[in-house]
């Protein structure tokens, strides 16, 4: 599977895996905790003791950035996994069974599409601020619709293909038909959607942190860190830049992974 990827996708995989590996080992090995304050050592420049300097409470930036990256990864992974599973299964089932279920799904999907995604997430986040679970549910709720629409449209054409009809006639069950005929046609689109979805989940989380309704302090979160460090941009520009670079690198990695529109599955 990895072997079939284009060079830019491999770079994307490498970048993301490397970042995750480095981030989690830093969290494990760092002598500091993300909440360890040291008010005598505020806004320090990078040094041998604090490799990336310290923030306005004297907390170690390296540990905080690593922890924030880890959090972003975990959340985006679960959001993508849940929304893709939900969207694809509902999409395939709706296309296959049709009838009333299709009508009902149309109504739900149209309602969700009519609401701007970020507003929906903001609404959820504002009800229970700082809850990781609610954040995850809200992001998943806005993201599964894309998977649903794509997999439903693709499945619709495959349901009527001679190949699937023949498999059915020969006695193969629904799971075989899905695995042999529907899933291979879906993978490419779903993987592309998942890559962009991963990037979007990270951005959404950062946006919420930025408007103070996402993760609450003292937890480290990239968006929250950007807004916390913003007042010190003149005194210590290097610490403000760090979460921004981290977000950009993550999003860049996911976008590389998505590939470009020319490298189709064929």
């Amino acid at each position: 599977m990895i072997l079939q990827l284009k060079i830019n996708q491999k770079v994307g995989v490498g970048l993301l895996l490397g970042l995750l590996l480095v981030a989690s080992s830093i969290v494990q090995l760092s002598p500091y905790h993300i909440a360890d304050q040291d008010l005598s050592g505020r806004l320090l420049a990078p040094s041998a003791e604090h490799w990336l300097g310290t923030d306005h409470f004297g907390r170690d930036m390296l540990t905080r950035i690593a922890s924030a990256i880890q959090l972003s990864f975990v959340l985006s992974f679960f959001c993508v996994l849940t929304s893709a599973t939900l969207g694809v299964s509902l999409g395939v089932i709706t296309a296959w069974k049709g009838g009333r279920m299709a009508l009902g799904m149309d109504v739900i999907v149209n309602i969700l599409l009519a609401l701007p995604g970020l507003v929906l997430v903001l609404l959820f986040a504002a009800i229970v601020p700082g809850s990781l679970l609610v954040l995850y549910l809200a992001i998943t709720l806005t993201q599964w619709v894309e998977y649903f629409r794509v997999s439903r449209a693709i499945t619709n054409t495959i349901i009527n293909s001679p190949a699937r009809q023949l498999s059915q006639m020969m006695g193969f069950g629904p799971w075989y038909q899905f695995r042999r005929h529907i899933w291979p046609e879906l993978t490419h689109s779903i993987l592309t959607l998942a890559s962009f979805g991963g990037a979007n989940a990270i951005l959404t989380m950062a946006s919420l942190g930025f408007v103070y309704v996402g993760i609450q302090p003292p937890l480290a979160e990239l968006g929250l860190m950007s807004v916390e460090l913003f007042p010190y941009y003149a005194q210590a520009p290097w610490i403000l830049v760090q979460p921004l670079i981290a977000i950009a690198t993550l999003v860049f990695g996911f976008h590389l992974l998505a590939g470009n529109k020319h490298d189709g599955a064929h």
């Binding site: 001679p162 023949l166 006639m169 020969m170 006695g171 193969f172 075989y176 042999r180």
Partner: protein, 469 residues
């Protein structure tokens, strides 16, 4: 008479392999030329070379003169549409699926001839009325039948005023009356100019008349007037090509004593949705019997087969299986387009293994059956997209026969294959169905094929069941 196209020593190479070797011919004004040959013989490449559409990875040498002037690939584009035009294979691919039908024509009037919107619209509607497509002017190409789409493609291709036409397999997959319509339309459109047709269909060559050029593996085999080539072919290959047509087939008829009834159909009305397509159908199928269904497109041939298989509900009447203990996977269908009826994501071996595992089949039976079907072992390591249509259709037959079917519905199994392969596959299918005692329902738009092969014939256009057993 002036030569409109003159091709001299055209040779096309790809990575050192010769695809077309020293082909020379000329197309005279008012005298159509037909290039005849099998799939993969290089016919289409010749047409593309004349249009200047050869992919750049191919190396071409030789000269091509159009309207008496030698032209290079680049300098041919000003001629496109205005004086020379090409009808590519498969009209679906050359029409815009998102554009309504009249626009496909009016756009040509606007862009190529520079007419204003209203004049272009009027001209387009005139053309469509002329072709009997007026009722479909506001529909989209996917809503048209094959013959209608081809007529629309011709209207669109010739709207620019070109009367030198190059048609690549214009009648592929069309039934005989639609085919005749298209040929007449092509002849009309080429008036004052000329027509270069590429086909594997002898009947098309015969109807067009003019000259014939036979090509095999990129080599010129025979050339001459249509009459002399078709009635008195010199080359062995030409003879074989002519005798591959269904009217020359020799297929043994079933001996009546051997048969056992498996299915009875009484007073059946078939249709899709609420509209009845045919009614009053009566039939009894027997083991080893070959039943032919013939009729024009849209008359319900495929619907009939699907209804017998239980894929569609009958609108009226009764279908009664007479054999006890048959399983549903023994009632099978063979599709028209082999590549679309097999998953291309795994090797053929995997598809075969899936089937063996599901029904716990005896793997010993595979090898002898493959030998009978002329399928090399190595083909199983490839996936459906790397295998030719003929081989895939034989592989489909292999899969079907492994399940020991009692009833097999073959929906135009050979209409997209060239005559040699069509003959081979039909003969194999019939022989093996007889051997296994499987009733075979063949649907075809070619009356000659049905008459030659079948024990019982159902003509749907007359809406009456006529037995000729």
């Amino acid at each position: 008479m002036t030569a409109l196209i003159k091709v001299h020593d055209l040779t096309i190479h790809y990575q050192g392999k010769c695809l077309v070797n020293k082909v020379s011919f000329s197309v005279q004004q008012g005298r159509p030329l037909t290039i005849l040959g099998q799939t993969g013989s290089g016919k289409t490449l010749v047409a593309k070379a004349i249009m200047g559409l050869l992919p750049s990875v191919l190396e071409a040498s030789g000269t091509v003169e159009v309207f008496g002037k030698p032209v290079m690939a680049q300098s041919r584009s000003p001629l496109w549409g205005k004086s020379i035009t090409m009808l590519p294979q498969e009209p679906w691919h050359s029409l815009d699926p998102l554009m309504v039908n009249y626009q496909q024509v009016s756009e040509v009037y606007e862009s190529v001839k520079g007419e204003d919107g209203e004049a272009a619209f009027n001209h387009a509607i005139d053309d469509l009325t002329h072709l009997g497509l007026k009722g479909s002017a506001l529909k989209r190409p996917t809503e048209l039948s094959g013959g209608m789409a081809q007529r629309l493609a011709i209207a669109s291709a010739t709207a620019g005023g070109a009367n030198l036409l190059i048609a690549d397999e214009p009648t592929k997959g069309l039934d005989s009356s639609r085919r005749d319509d298209i040929i007449q339309l092509l002849q009309r459109s080429a008036q004052g100019g000329s027509l270069l047709t590429i086909t594997h269909d002898i009947d098309v060559a015969q109807q067009l008349g003019g000259d014939i050029l036979v090509i095999k593996d990129g080599e010129m085999i025979e050339a001459g007037s249509a009459e002399s080539v078709l009635t008195n072919p010199q080359a062995e290959y030409t003879k074989a090509l002519i005798y591959a047509a269904p009217q020359y087939w020799q297929i043994e008829k079933l001996r009546k004593t051997e048969r056992k009834a498996i299915l009875s159909v009484t007073d059946l009305t078939i249709g899709r949705g609420k509209d009845a397509l045919a009614s009053g159908l009566n039939l009894t199928c027997h083991t080893g019997e070959i039943i032919g269904v013939v009729g024009d497109s849209g008359c319900g041939k495929s619907t009939f087969g699907d209804t017998l298989l239980g894929l569609l509900p009958p609108l009226k009447g009764e279908i009664k299986p007479l054999l006890a203990n048959t399983k549903s996977h023994q009632w099978l269908k063979l599709f028209q387009d082999p590549p679309s009826s097999l998953s291309a994501h795994v090797t053929l071996q995997t598809l075969l293994n899936d089937l063996v595992k599901l029904h716990k089949l005896d793997t010993q039976k595979i090898a002898p059956l493959m030998e009978k079907l002329n399928l090399p072992e190595s083909i199983l390591q490839r996936s459906a997209k790397d295998v030719s249509g003929g081989e895939l259709q034989r592989f489909s037959i292999l899969r079907a026969l492994l399940l020991e079917p009692v009833f097999l519905f073959a929906d135009e199994p050979t209409s997209r294959l060239d005559p040699f392969i069509a003959k081979e596959i039909t003969e194999l299918l019939i022989a093996l169905a007889r051997e296994q005692g499987c009733a075979l329902l063949i649907v075809s738009h070619d009356p000659a094929l049905i008459d030659k092969c079948c024990d019982t014939v159902i003509r749907l256009d007359q809406q009456k069941h006529k037995s000729v057993a």
